[in-house]
C-alpha cells in the first residue's frame, strides 16, 4: 500500500463550530491520514465522532478551521481560484445518506442526474446530455425509461442509485459516500454495496466510505479508520483491524457488535463500555477516550497520545503503546 500513489493527504484537519461566545463544538479535531488512489478507505465511529463532518469538510461544504487537505498536489482546504474550484467539483463528489431528501422532489430523474453535466459541460446539446443520462442510468442498473419520472415513484434503493448516477455524471475520481446505505433495508444494502464495488472497478474510483456499521465497512473497505470524538484513534487494513485491534475503543466496538451466529454470540466475552460519549463541546483533556477506557492511566489525562505506526500499516493513538512516557511538547 505504501508504494501506491497518494490521492489525498489530510494534515491535522480541524473543523470547529462556534456556537455561542466561548462555546465551540470541536467536531473534527486534528485528523491526519492519507488516502491512496483506487482504494476504499472506510471511516467508522459512533454518533458525535465527527465522521460526517470530516466528509463534508473534505468536499468543501464546510470551511476547515485549520489544517491542510492536499489533493493532487494542491491544498484545497483554503482559497481556490474559480478554475481550481470547478476542477475540484468535477474530481470529488458525494453520495448522501437519506434517499428521501437527497433528491429534489420537483425535478425529474433526468434533470437531477444531468445537473452536473449542464454546469460543467454547458456546450453539450440536449440530445447529448440525454444520451449521457441514459448511459449513467444503465451503469447504475436502472432502465432508461425512468429518466422522465419523479423521485417519489421510486423505492429507497432505486433513489440511492439515482444519487450515485448524479455523482458519477461529472466523472469524478474520488467519491465520498456518507452513510449511503444506513437508511436502506438489509437486502437492498447488499445491492448498493455490490454496485459501488462494480463501479469502482470499472472506473478506477477511490472511495471514502463513512458508516457506523462496522461489518459492512470491513467488507467493502481496504483500510479502515476508527474515529472517536473528533479524532482518529486507529487506522489499519480491514482484516488487521478485526484480528488485532490495538486501541481499547476499537476492541470495545468490535466486541459490542452482535454477530449473526448464535453459537458465537453465546460464547462471546463482551467488553461493555461504561458511561456515554462526552460532549464534543467540552472534550476530556489528554486522550479523549480516557473517561471510558478500561485501561486508562495517569498519563492519559495529561498528554494526548501520539499517532504512531505501531505495526506496518497499522496506526494507533494510545499510551498503552508508547514506551517512552516522556512528556515532550
Amino acid at each position: 500500500m505504501n508504494n501506491q500513489e497518494k490521492l489525498i493527504e489530510i494534515k491535522d484537519l480541524k473543523k470547529h463550530f462556534h456556537l455561542k461566545r466561548h462555546t465551540t463544538l470541536q467536531a473534527v479535531d486534528g485528523v491526519t491520514l492519507d488516502i491512496y488512489r483506487g482504494e476504499t478507505l472506510g471511516v467508522v465511529g459512533e454518533s458525535g465522532c465527527g465522521k460526517s463532518t470530516l466528509g463534508r469538510t473534505l468536499i468543501r461544504l464546510y470551511e476547515p478551521t485549520a489544517g491542510e487537505v492536499v489533493y493532487n498536489g494542491k491544498d484545497v482546504a483554503n482559497r481556490l481560484t474559480k478554475k481550481e474550484e470547478r476542477q475540484f467539483q468535477k474530481d470529488v463528489q458525494m453520495i448522501f445518506q437519506d434517499p428521501y431528501s437527497s433528491l429534489n422532489a420537483r425535478m425529474t430523474v433526468s434533470e437531477i442526474i444531468s445537473e452536473g453535466i449542464r454546469i460543467h459541460e454547458p456546450s453539450l446539446s440536449r440530445k447529448e446530455v440525454e444520451a449521457r443520462v441514459h448511459q449513467l442510468l444503465d451503469s447504475v442498473g436502472l432502465h432508461k425509461r425512468f429518466s422522465n419520472r419523479y423521485p417519489h415513484e421510486f423505492s429507497g434503493g432505486q433513489r440511492q442509485r439515482i444519487g450515485i448516477a448524479r455523482a458519477l455524471a461529472v466523472n469524478p475520481e474520488f467519491i465520498i459516500a456518507d452513510e449511503p446505505i444506513a437508511a436502506l433495508d438489509v437486502s437492498i444494502q447488499a445491492q448498493i454495496v455490490n454496485l459501488l464495488k462494480e463501479l469502482q472497478e470499472e472506473k478506477g474510483l477511490t472511495y471514502l466510505f463513512i458508516a457506523h456499521d462496522l461489518s459492512m465497512v470491513k467488507h467493502i473497505s481496504d483500510r479502515v479508520a476508527v474515529m472517536y470524538l473528533g479524532g482518529v484513534v486507529e487506522l489499519s487494513t480491514s482484516d488487521d483491524l478485526y484480528h488485532d485491534p490495538l486501541h481499547p475503543y476499537t476492541q470495545a466496538l468490535l466486541s459490542a457488535i452482535p454477530v449473526a451466529d448464535p453459537k458465537i454470540e453465546r460464547s462471546r466475552e463482551r467488553i461493555i463500555l461504561e458511561g456515554t460519549v462526552p460532549s464534543p463541546i467540552d472534550p476530556p483533556s489528554g486522550c479523549r477516550f480516557r473517561t471510558r477506557c478500561p485501561h486508562a492511566m495517569d498519563i492519559c489525562a495529561q498528554v494526548a497520545p501520539q499517532w504512531k505506526e505501531q505495526k506496518p500499516n497499522h496506526f494507533v493513538a494510545c499510551h498503552l503503546y508508547n514506551e517512552d512516557v516522556e512528556v515532550d511538547e
Binding site: 463534508r56 431528501s101 437527497s102 423505492s155
Partner: protein, 336 residues
C-alpha cells in the same frame, strides 16, 4: 392441512423463477409531476372547486356588471333615492320594488327605470356601485399579492439564503415593522396625503408582506440543510441556480398558500378602513364604504347593506376555502 394441497398436480413443482426478468417496479401510471398531482387533488376538493368558480364569476362580474346597465357609480338622481331592488322577471323572489311595508315605491314615485339592487340616498344605482366596489377590492387583492411576492418572497429569501448576520439584521427590521400598528400608519398617511387608494397602498407596502417574508424564510432555512441542496452545491451550482431551481420550487407550495390567505386579510383591511371612514372617500365606492353606508339604515333599508355584504363575504370565504384546499393539495406528505 394436507387436504388443501392434494389437488395441486405434480408438474406444478417444476422450477419457474422469474427473478431477473423485466423489472416493472415503477408503476405504469403516467408520471405525475408535483403540480399535476396537486391539481388532481385540488379538483377532488368540492369546496375548493366551488370557490374557484365563484371567484371567477365575481371577477367577471366586477368588470361586466357595471356595463350591464346604463347607470354609473356616481350619477346622482335625488328623485330616485332609496328605491328598493327591482328586477323585471324576478319579482316573485322579492325583487319587486316594494319596501319593508310592502309599498311599491316605484309605483308611488312614478318611476319607470328599474334598479336591480335598488338605489342609495343619492339615487345612485347600487348594482353598479357594488360591482365597482368589487373591482376595488380585487385591486387591493392583487396589490397585496404582488407585494407579498415582490417584497415578501425576496426579503425572506435573501434573509434565509445568506443567513448569519444578514439574517439577524433583516429579522430585527421585520420585528420593528410588525410592532407598528397598521392603523397608526394609515392615520399618519392620511395626515400627510389624503385618505384614499394611495394611503391604503402605502400602508400595505410597509407592513403587508411581513408574514410572507417570515414564511419564506422559515421554509428556505429548512430546505437549505436538505441533502439535495448540499448535493447541488457539491456539483458546483451557482447561488442563483440553487435559489431558482431547488429552493424556491420546493417552497412554492407554502408561498401560494400564504398568498391565498393574505388576500382576504387585505381585502378585509381595506373594507374595515373604509367602514371607519379612513379608507376611500365618496363618490368612490369600495365594498367597505357601501357597507358603512348601508349599515346605518340596516333595519329600514336592508338592501343597501346586504348585497355588498354578501359579495365581500363570498369573496373572503372563497379565498379561505381555496387556501385550505391548496394547502392540503400541495402537502407532499399526502402524495401517493
Amino acid at each position: 392441512m394436507s387436504e388443501h394441497r392434494d389437488h395441486i398436480s405434480e408438474d406444478m413443482f417444476t422450477p419457474d423463477p422469474i427473478v431477473g426478468k423485466e423489472e416493472t417496479q415503477v408503476s405504469d401510471t403516467p408520471q405525475l409531476s408535483f403540480w399535476k398531482d396537486a391539481w388532481i387533488r385540488l379538483r377532488r376538493n368540492k369546496g375548493a372547486v366551488i370557490s374557484i368558480v365563484l371567484l371567477l364569476f365575481i371577477t367577471i362580474m366586477a368588470f361586466v356588471g357595471p356595463m350591464m346597465n346604463e347607470y354609473t357609480y356616481k350619477d346622482q338622481q335625488i328623485a330616485h333615492s332609496h328605491l328598493p331592488p327591482k328586477v323585471v322577471g324576478l319579482e316573485w323572489i322579492g325583487f319587486d320594488g316594494t319596501d319593508k311595508n310592502g309599498v311599491d315605491v316605484y309605483k308611488e314615485k312614478g318611476i319607470e327605470d328599474v334598479y336591480w339592487f335598488g338605489t342609495d340616498q343619492f339615487g345612485r344605482d347600487i348594482w353598479t356601485r357594488v360591482w365597482e366596489g368589487t373591482k376595488i377590492s380585487l385591486y387591493i387583492a392583487f396589490l397585496a399579492a404582488a407585494l407579498d411576492l415582490i417584497i415578501g418572497v425576496v426579503y425572506g429569501g435573501i434573509s434565509a439564503f445568506y443567513g448569519g448576520r444578514v439574517d439577524n439584521v433583516m429579522q430585527r427590521i421585520i420585528e420593528v415593522l410588525v410592532g407598528i400598528p397598521n392603523l397608526i400608519l394609515i392615520v399618519l398617511f392620511i395626515l400627510i396625503l389624503e385618505p384614499g387608494i394611495l394611503s391604503i397602498t402605502l400602508a400595505l407596502v410597509i407592513t403587508g408582506w411581513v408574514n410572507m417574508a417570515r414564511v419564506v424564510r422559515g421554509e428556505l432555512l429548512q430546505l437549505k440543510g436538505q441533502e439535495f441542496v448540499l448535493a447541488s452545491r457539491t456539483l458546483g451550482s451557482s447561488d442563483f441556480k440553487l435559489i431558482t431551481k431547488h429552493l424556491l420550487p420546493n417552497a412554492l407550495g407554502s408561498i401560494i398558500v400564504t398568498l391565498m390567505f393574505t388576500i382576504p386579510t387585505a381585502i378585509f383591511f381595506e373594507a374595515f378602513l373604509s367602514f371607519i371612514g379612513l379608507g376611500l372617500q365618496p363618490p368612490l365606492a369600495s365594498l367597505g364604504v357601501l357597507i358603512e353606508d348601508g349599515y346605518r339604515t340596516m333595519q329600514l333599508l336592508p338592501y343597501k347593506m346586504i348585497y355588498p355584504a354578501i359579495v365581500i363575504s363570498v369573496i373572503m370565504i372563497c379565498f379561505n376555502v381555496l387556501a385550505d384546499g391548496l394547502r392540503d393539495a400541495l402537502d407532499p406528505k399526502m402524495r401517493k
